[in-house]
């Protein structure tokens, strides 16, 4: 057991680092660009030099690298924090789905522009009435000759307004049980009939959109998998989603230790208060547990094993902890904990921002409750809840007034 690279890994790391240090664009170089332009700009540079999506096959724009090289590349790239965010859904979720389900023609046409950053993709799965219960989605697809006509509403779509394409799963047959009546497509987001509206969150951010489909025409050749096979195709996407989302944002214990050093309780640094110390120790242990669990996953990856359910743990533990830590940190500041006024609040109001953002982290990408179900069922092998909707035609399943 050791923390150092193998000689090959070290060589690769040095090469990657050297290239990155030379080529990551400076703030000045990016001046005037919005976030989408920045990401595209940087991605194009990587693509031209053969450093884009390095684990992908060369013929689709990648480098044929190993999983471990991808991990090393990610570590090195993230050290320098170049702009990458808007590309992650297309490259991390849409692309693996295309690789597995699309025909060669589609792959050759669509994967290289994904790798180069020319095309941005988004994911259109959730609907207002189908969150945790994704397979309850209602958006309709009806066949018309060689095309399909899509009608309905999607929600929680990041980047819908700047995306070129979207992956979408829809109901092609409401008369069969819910998992059987779904079909999966990719759509041109510039198609007539698609309307996008941002959703404002309580933190004030708008990271998501609602997307309305009104008679949107999609050619049948943009179907992935067979008609009625949408659920299986979605599973490919979701498996990669769980790998893509981490503990995600929020506070960490380093922030908390620093705050406790800088804040006083009864005239002494808060870090000397044993009630504070006990809380810090508790959260630190869990954060480190996640960190080293990640190391174990990376090791498995480097040995060619498929990482297990570690990411469900990371998201579950991280989200709850981040909320409680934000609340506790605000308490440390006492009356002033509520202040979000930038010039007066500790850390420019970021505690309040973390507090308001954390409820979303506990839900996005699978709620706490769904994560616990996944761990219980898929890891511990415990039985599913009784499924009252099992085998029932979709249009006969009970729904409530809030669906």
């Amino acid at each position: 057991m050791d923390f150092s690279d193998s000689p090959e890994e070290a060589r690769f790391r040095a090469e990657a680092r050297a290239w990155l240090e030379k080529h990551v664009p400076s703030e000045r170089e990016l001046a005037g660009m919005d976030e989408v332009e920045r990401c595209k700009y940087w991605q194009k540079r990587k693509y031209d030099a053969g450093w884009a999506c390095i684990r992908w096959p060369k013929e689709y724009g990648g480098r044929d690298s190993s999983a471990m090289q991808q991990v090393i590349w990610n570590q090195e790239e993230s050290r320098l924090s170049p702009p990458t965010g808007v590309l992650s859904i297309g490259q991390g979720m849409a692309a693996p789905t295309l690789m597995q389900w699309a025909n060669e023609e589609v792959k050759r046409k669509h994967l290289p522009p994904l790798a180069s950053g020319e095309h941005i993709w988004c994911q259109l799965f959730s609907e207002p009435a189908s969150g945790s219960d994704l397979a309850a989605l209602r958006m309709r697809a009806e066949r018309e000759g060689d095309d399909w006509i899509l009608n309905g509403q999607k929600i929680w779509t990041s980047g819908a307004h700047y995306s070129d394409y979207g992956i979408v799963v829809v109901r092609s047959d409401p008369t069969v049980p819910k998992h059987q009546g779904l079909t999966y497509f990719f759509v041109d987001m510039k198609s007539a009939g698609i309307e996008t509206r941002p959703i404002k969150q309580i933190s004030g951010d708008s990271n998501f959109n609602e997307v309305y489909f009104n008679d949107v025409r999609v050619p049948d050749r943009q179907r992935l998998g067979a008609v009625g096979q949408g659920w299986q195709v979605s599973m490919t996407t979701l498996m990669h989603e769980r790998l893509a989302i981490g503990g995600g944002g929020g506070l960490n214990t380093r922030h908390l230790f620093r705050l406790a050093e800088q804040t006083e309780i009864d005239g002494r640094p808060a870090i000397e208060d044993r009630a504070v110390r006990a809380r810090l120790a508790h959260w630190y242990c869990r954060e480190m547990g996640l960190k080293y669990t990640g190391y174990r996953a990376m090791t498995a990856l480097s040995r060619g094993e498929i990482p297990g359910p570690e990411n469900s743990i990371s998201k579950l533990v991280g989200a709850v902890q981040s909320q409680d830590m934000a609340s506790f940190a605000m308490d440390l500041l006492e009356f002033c904990g509520a202040v979000m006024q930038r010039d007066l609040a500790a850390g420019e109001g970021q505690l309040g921002y973390a507090f308001l953002g954390s409820p979303g982290i506990r839900i996005a990408g699978g709620s706490d409750e769904i994560m616990l179900n996944i761990l219980a069922e898929r890891v511990l092998g415990m039985p599913q809840d009784p499924r009252v909707d099992k085998g029932i035609p979709f249009h006969e399943i009970a729904t409530g007034s809030k669906n």
Binding site: D266, F335, L344, I363, D389, S401
Partner: protein, 370 residues
Amino acid sequence: MNFELSDDQKLVREQARAFLDEHCPPSVVRCILEGEEPYDRELWRGIASLGWLGTTIPVSYGGLGLSHYELCVMAEELGRATAPVPFSSSVYFAAEALLLAGSEEQKQEWLPQLAIGEAIGTLAVAEGPGRPVPSQLKTRVSSGVMSGEKYPVPDGDVADFVVVVAQDAALGKPSMFLVRGEHLNRRTIETVDRTRSHAWIEANDAPVECMGVAGQGWELLENLMNRAAVLFAWEQVGGSDAALEQARQYSLERYAFGRPIGSFQAIKHKLAHAYVNNTLARSNCYYGIWALANDAPELPLAAATARVSASQAYYYSSKENIQTHGGMGFTWEFDCQFHYRRAKLLSLAVGSETWWQERLVTAYEQANAA
């Protein structure tokens, strides 16, 4: 043994609830959240015209002369409605401070105005981050004028006067002072809950009047905080019950996997825990209000007990209300955010849960040493 509110007090609650249902629906709260007004003036006038602001103010000063029992049910209902008005500042802080420590002139000047909502008062304690320590107060009063800054001050941007605890230079100890709003520099500041206005205030040689015995400002503050803590705890319990009810209602109407999500044990047990927390907190609030209404020596311990459990209960129910709502819960459009914001704001309004835990044990030790 009669550990229950009287029928009259329950009637007050029902009337308060009916009034707020009509005059303080979520749309009113949202209007303050999204707009620039510091509070809802129409609601404030309505509350004033019902006499709520003068509940515990003696009749001789223009109030209703009722007990804290009547006040606590109003606090509960205002909490339930997350009402966007400076009620707590004017009533729990300013009026209580005047009744505790005001001179006859001060009472005569301000209590009648507070009672009818013509004046708003508040209390300024904090001077930025951390737990205030009497010996380290930076705001100072010397030769009758005060200098220094205080923030956050609830409703400090709209208050006609502010009760301030400041270093009394002559004595080297804190005293309590009253300063008029017009003598302050002040600006509204952003907090986690915009439905309750807060300010940064600054005094530069502002003229002040002393309240109570000079040099006893900290003891007065402790007493005032204990009293306010009980009333805030009632507000918190009202809010917490409302958040639980919101979650419960949604869980019955929202279906997943062919059944209401409220039929899943993960949701049922979550809400059962919220119910347990709320029930324990409410029972502690009963004891707290008994101690407050009777000026009982148990007040410090009773107030801390009510305060800690109410802060915990409201945090839990407000965050799990969002969680129960799933994705919609954390959207701006849904009203779940009102309780989540308010829960945090109230839990800091008179000192954090941690602080009150510490006060609780101190009060326990003192009670058992006596």
